[in-house]
Amino acid sequence: MEVARHWRETPERYRMEAGKCSKCGKIAFPGRMICPECGSTEFTKHTLSGKGKIVTYTIIRTAPDGFEDLVPYAVGIIELDDGIKILAQITDCNPEELKTGDRVVAKFRRINEDGKTGMIYYAYKFVPDVGI
């Protein structure tokens, strides 16, 4: 059972809260204590836009535990309008029809669960930005 490990990521996973370096403006997601750009330790909270475009993606055919029922599913690197890249699943699509550069938007989805009786893990996934 892994409870605290997932619970402590709630701000990042539920609300896409990132850290913005007070000195150089670099956005770090997930948040960090030391800025990888300038070494500063001062950050302010920055909520990511949740909108962006696909930089690259793959379609997973052999899934890790807990993801088998989603196969085939897409995972991509998304460049957000905030200027940073994050990795997430791209759901609500036919993965075969995705293209690099496609606009996507974040939604709140179920990621995995600790078996049928354990904790359910929620976080962001992206969907094609078709306005629904």
Partner: protein
């Protein structure tokens, strides 16, 4: 004055056609389509559940409300498919919206009227002055037993309402409840699928309670069916609400926007709240809307809303119901649907 400050919905992208289900069970699709006015229904993706639909609907409601989530004082989620038997969906939704920690929350369950229960409590908490804003959500990924009549209608969707006392898109005129202990439909603890009383779900259940609530609120407000621009009844199928409306003296134009079941199915707790949202998507300012839910067990909540000028300003700040319902649909075959809905049993 209290009412709706923002509303938002989420309908899954997947659909299954009635024919596809009927084919598997050797049933006559035409009779379902004709008799129950059902053509297809929404199906949640395996990564969607009551909580995710509620969050995504609530985010749309927040876009239209334009309020600070920290000002939400209460949040209630009504559903018969809460992901946990014990652990509040409302806590997940509050956390995702950024409303924690000064927020009161509870999960409601009252079959298909849990959503309007949440709305009812939210509205009255704001009215009492206890909180500035309260959110009421109806969200479900409802289950129909394989081959049962319910399998043709049980679908998924959510509607969320931010209630407040200013900047309203629709003012609450009045509410009324009608409730008795009527065993027309239930799901016991640990059971995967609900059971129902067949035709008993009609006259002594749906008909009686909807009629009771409508008559009570009309009497209380001294209003008549023709006073309303629009009306929405709970819609377990496409037949009951239409029959009921006509019988009570309402006419087709009044439910033209609110009747979604023929292509959405029965979203249970989301059903009449989604119908209200679809109506708000189209209504003009200063129009009167009657909303009457129904939940097995059994009861109905009736609400009268009057739209405001602000409705037009916020309408396009989130997707409209018809767009979510009619566009970008992805159809499933029964096998995929069975997998999506965990109807295929795999070894642990």
């Amino acid at each position: 004055m209290v009412g709706i400050v923002g509303y938002g919905t989420q309908i899954p992208r997947y659909r299954i056609k009635i024919e596809e289900i009927a084919k598997v069970w050797g049933a006559d699709a035409a009779s379902f389509k004709r008799g129950l006015n059902l053509n297809e229904k929404s199906v949640p993706c395996p990564d969607e559940d009551c909580a995710t639909l509620a969050v995504n609907a609530a985010r749309n409601a927040m876009s239209r409300a334009g309020i600070n989530p920290q000002e939400i004082g209460a949040l209630y989620v009504g559903s018969e498919s809460h992901p946990y038997a014990v652990k509040p969906t409302g806590a997940t939704v509050s956390e995702a919206l950024g409303a924690c920690p000064y927020v009161h929350t509870a999960d409601f369950e009252f079959a298909c009227k849990a959503g309007t229960e949440a709305m009812f409590v939210a509205l009255n908490l704001v009215k009492s002055g206890a909180v500035k804003y309260a959110v009421g959500i109806g969200s479900d990924t409802s289950q129909g037993s394989p081959g049962d009549a319910l399998e043709y209608s049980a679908s998924a969707g959510a509607a969320a309402y931010v209630m407040g006392a200013e900047n309203l898109v629709a003012e609450l005129i009045d509410t009324h409840c009608f409730m008795t202990d009527t065993p027309d439909f239930w799901r016991r603890e640990h059971a995967n699928y609900p059971e129902h009383g067949g035709r008993f779900t009609g006259e002594p259940s749906y008909m009686k309670h909807v009629t009771g609530a409508v008559n009570a609120i009309l009497e209380k407000t001294k209003m008549k069916p023709e006073d309303f621009d629009y009306m929405i009844f709970h819609q377990p199928n496409g037949k009951f609400p239409v029959q009921m409306a006509l019988k009570l003296g309402f006419k087709e134009p009044q439910f033209r926007y609110g009747l979604l079941t023929p292509t959405l199915g029965n979203t249970y707790s989301g059903s009449s709240p989604l119908g209200l949202a679809a109506t708000l998507d189209e209504a003009k300012p200063n129009q009167l809307i009657l909303l009457v839910s129904y939940g097995s067990g059994a009861g109905s909540d009736a609400f009268i809303f009057k739209t405001t000028e602000r409705l037009l300003k916020v309408r396009d700040m989130a997707p409209r119901v018809r767009k979510q319902l009619d566009e970008h649909k992805m159809y499933l075959e029964y096998g995929q649907y069975a997998k999506f809905r965990h109807k295929i049993v795999k070894p642990e």
